[in-house]
Structures are given as structure tokens and as C-alpha cells.
């Protein structure tokens, strides 16, 4: 293989502790306990190595990253190293003084997730009463402090019809940018797929709502729309391609090519406390397993789009076809593509079952 280009982003999952129980949680089914979390010194070393490797942006995520008391130190270190820092937060339990401290440590950007446009529905989906009100409060603090703010709204069958209200809500919160992200069906979301999968009509309406809002709010609110791949004929370029731009580090220090990579049993992962990040990025089995196009089978191997979508998502191929090296079944060229339409039909044909809230860590609330 030719020289591996430098990664662009580090997704630093500082903790799996989280006050919310979103039914589409993207963290793994088995969460890492607080006692396994990297120390401050270890995270500072990861940031140092990340900058040395050419990483430009660090996404401070979780769980809820603000439960880490050392977040200010990590942000300050990122700023010193020239790393752009992005805080991805539920907004739960962050006081004004805390956000101010993070801002003066050099935080570049805040992203707050919302579950819906109203408190009643938002709190129900998040499985936490009072969550919505705290997000509103934090967005207000971000605006007062002049921080750049993105609102992230995961959408699904239960809230996608409220998209116009969600857009207005993001504007009212002072966001400059809104991510409307259809839920991706892995892990916990896969358990709730029958409840969360939107209908084709819902998706079609949402696309129109976004297009109209983009026109109406040009220069005021930028909207990124993540389409649901269950209605696509071509797969998403998951992670922009495996091992092409992003390193995910879990709370305990495992370096992953994507946050769901642990669902692929043939991969072995290395820990940033045991091997330099540069070596993991360049030489490890897990990062090289699906890097580039050499691993591809048909129909990917000879597909003209193989360097556009990189075969789609390995974890989805694993979850649905049982083999991570297969073409992502969201691709119409996949021999398993027909199953997706059947899955969707079976899900949206019936009244949705109750949502199963994310099971939190046992003994949470330590922070």
C-alpha cells in the first residue's frame, strides 16, 4: 500500500457516562465503565500525538463529555496544539460558568443535540425529564458567550414530521448550523428500528422541508441533511472511507476506525496507551482491514463508484449480511438489497412498538 494520508479528525469519546437514554444511542451496547476511562495525562498524550500525526479537529464526545472534570484542560491543550475543538454535548448539567471556562480555554465550537422541538416530546425521546429545558438554557449561554453553535437533531419516525418546528427551534436557539441527521441503525438504534424507521412519505416530505428552509434561511442557518440510507439506492461513504480521515478513541483508549467497528468480530483493536497513535493509524490490522479498495469483492471491486462511497458501511454489511467485507446492502447492486425494502415495509406497515430506552451504565451519576 502507498503512504497512508494523515487523518483529519479525532473523535474522542471521553466517557460513556450519559444522563440521557436516547433509544438510538450510537455508543456500543456494552458500555465502558468509568473506572476504565483514560486519565487526564493519557488524554493529553493522545491529543499531543494526534496533532503530531496531522489531525486538525478534535471532537470531544461521549456519552456526555462534560461529566469529565478535566475537560477544560483537554480543551486548553487542544488550543495550544492548534487543534480545532468541538464539544458534542447533550447540554445536560452544564452551567454557564462551565461553558465560560471552556470558552476561555479556547473551545472553538459547541454542538448541542436536541430530540424534538417541544419539551414534552424531546424529554420523552431522551428518556430524561427536564433535558429539553437544559438544552435551551445551554444554547442561550453559548449565544451570550459568542460561541459558534450547531444544533444536531437526530430524526426518525417519531419526530420527522416536526421538522419545520425543529428548524425554527434551532434558529430560536441561535444556531448558525443545523444537522438534520436521520438515525443510523446500529447498536441500540437497530433494536428500535421498527419504531424509528420513517416512512417513505415522511422522508420525501422532510427533503422538501429542508430544501425550502435552506432557501428561506440562506446566510442565516446552514442545514446539513443526513439522508436515511434505508431509502437509498447507493450507500453512504461511511466515515468518508475506512481509515481515510478519522480515528475514534473510546473512553478506555481503544483506537477504532469507526465508532461501531467493535461489532466486527474479525478485527482486533489496539489501545493508545500501548502503541503510538501513528503506528495504529498506519500499520494496525483494524485500520488496514478495509482501507482503500484492495479488500473489496464484487460488485464493489469493479464498481465505478468504489472510490466515491468506498463500498458503504462495513458495520452495516456485518449487521445485515453477517460479513463485513460484503457490499453494504443499502446499495442497489448488493444481492441482499431486496431485504432492505422488505425490512422497511414490515416496519412501517404496523403501528410502532414502544421505544426501548438506552440502558445506562450501572451505577451512573458518579459525576
Amino acid at each position: 500500500m502507498t503512504a497512508v494520508p494523515a487523518p483529519i479528525g479525532l473523535l474522542a469519546e471521553l466517557t460513556h457516562r450519559c444522563p440521557l437514554q436516547c433509544p438510538y444511542c450510537s455508543n456500543p451496547i456494552a458500555l465502558e465503565p468509568p473506572r476504565a476511562e483514560l486519565s487526564t495525562t493519557q488524554w493529553l498524550d493522545v491529543l499531543d500525538q494526534a496533532a503530531g500525526l496531522g489531525i486538525c479537529q478534535v471532537h470531544l464526545s461521549g456519552g456526555e463529555p462534560t461529566v469529565r472534570r478535566d475537560l477544560e484542560q483537554l480543551v486548553a491543550s487542544a488550543a495550544r496544539l492548534g487543534l480545532y475543538s468541538n464539544l458534542i454535548t447533550s447540554g445536560f448539567g452544564v452551567k454557564r460558568e462551565r461553558l465560560a471556562a471552556l470558552a476561555s480555554a479556547g473551545l472553538d465550537h459547541v454542538q448541542i443535540s436536541i430530540q424534538d422541538a417541544t419539551a414534552r416530546s424531546g424529554d420523552r425521546i431522551a428518556g430524561a425529564s427536564g433535558a429539553h429545558a437544559r438544552k435551551v438554557e445551554l444554547a442561550g449561554f453559548a449565544q451570550e458567550l459568542g460561541l459558534a453553535l450547531t444544533i444536531n437533531a437526530p430524526v426518525h419516525r417519531q419526530n420527522i414530521d416536526h421538522l419545520e418546528d425543529i428548524i425554527e427551534f434551532a434558529l430560536a436557539l441561535g444556531a448558525r448550523r443545523l444537522e438534520v441527521a436521520n438515525v443510523q441503525y446500529y447498536g441500540w438504534a437497530l433494536k428500535n428500528r421498527a419504531t424509528l424507521l420513517p416512512t417513505r412519505d415522511q422522508v420525501a416530505s422532510s427533503v422538501i422541508v429542508v430544501e425550502q428552509a435552506r432557501e428561506r434561511f440562506k446566510g442565516v442557518l446552514n442545514i446539513d441533511y443526513v439522508a436515511p440510507d434505508y431509502y437509498a439506492s447507493r450507500p453512504k461513504a461511511c466515515m468518508g472511507g475506512w481509515g481515510r480521515g478519522v480515528i475514534n478513541v473510546t473512553p478506555s483508549g481503544k483506537a477504532l476506525p469507526c465508532h461501531a467497528a467493535e461489532t466486527i468480530p474479525s478485527l482486533s483493536f489496539e489501545n493508545v496507551t500501548l502503541r503510538p497513535l501513528r503506528e495504529i493509524w498506519t500499520n494496525s490490522q483494524s485500520f488496514n482491514a478495509f482501507r482503500g479498495t484492495g479488500w473489496m469483492r464484487e460488485p464493489c471491486r469493479t464498481c465505478e463508484l468504489r472510490e466515491v462511497d468506498w463500498g458503504g458501511c462495513r458495520c452495516q454489511a456485518m449487521a445485515i449480511t453477517g460479513d463485513a467485507a460484503n457490499t453494504d446492502p443499502m446499495c442497489a447492486k448488493s444481492p441482499r438489497h431486496g431485504e432492505i425494502a422488505l425490512t422497511v415495509a414490515a416496519a412501517v406497515d404496523k403501528p410502532p412498538p414502544d421505544l426501548v430506552p438506552r440502558r445506562p451504565l450501572a451505577g451512573r451519576g458518579r459525576s
Partner: protein, 103 residues
């Protein structure tokens, strides 16, 4: 019209020759030693602006007007100030629309 939580309307920033552009909070321009090029860092984005865009962006300090920037570049590249102004205004407007430039 969109409204902010403080009730005041928020509207699109329309740049003119007299505007004094600066990078907005959440946008940064720096030279990247690994890739040996200038990069612009923004929410969820890493951009590699062209050499001419970098020349403009480096002059966006919130003090010089866009006409002034065109003047500086006109001298540097020995080209008419008016032509440069016509070139750079839409580039800056596009960046303002994305939220990366304020004035």
C-alpha cells in the same frame, strides 16, 4: 424572519465594498505543517482554500474594508483594484453565507 432568543431579528449578512470582514467565531485559518498548505477550520469542516482565497482571508482582520483588501492585492499582483473587488466579493459573500465570515 428568523428571530433570536433575545427577540431581535437575525438576517443574512450582505457584504459590500465598505464592509470590514473578519473570520467569524468558529472559523480559523492556519498553515498546516503536515500537509504544507493553508487550511480553514470550521464546524465539521476542514477546507483547503486556493492560494488566492488565502491571500484574501489573511487580510480579513475586521479593520480593512473589502475595497481596501482589493487595493492591497491590486498592488501586490499588479492588477486593477476594481477587477479584484469584483472577484473577491462573491467569494467572501459565500463564506459569510456559510457563517465563516462576519463584518
Amino acid at each position: 424572519m428568523a428571530s433570536r432568543s433575545d427577540g431581535r431579528p437575525r438576517s443574512r449578512l450582505v457584504l459590500a465594498a465598505v464592509s470590514r470582514p473578519a473570520l467569524a467565531r468558529g472559523a480559523r485559518l492556519r498553515f498546516d505543517d503536515t500537509r504544507r498548505c493553508w487550511i480553514m477550520l470550521a464546524p465539521e469542516k476542514v477546507l483547503t482554500p486556493s492560494a488566492s482565497a488565502v491571500a484574501v482571508l489573511r487580510l480579513c482582520d475586521g479593520r480593512v474594508t473589502i475595497a481596501g483588501i482589493a487595493g492591497i492585492l491590486a498592488e501586490e499582483f499588479d492588477a486593477p483594484q476594481g477587477a479584484i473587488l469584483v472577484d473577491i466579493l462573491p467569494v467572501l459573500q459565500d463564506l459569510a453565507d456559510k457563517g465563516y465570515i462576519t463584518a
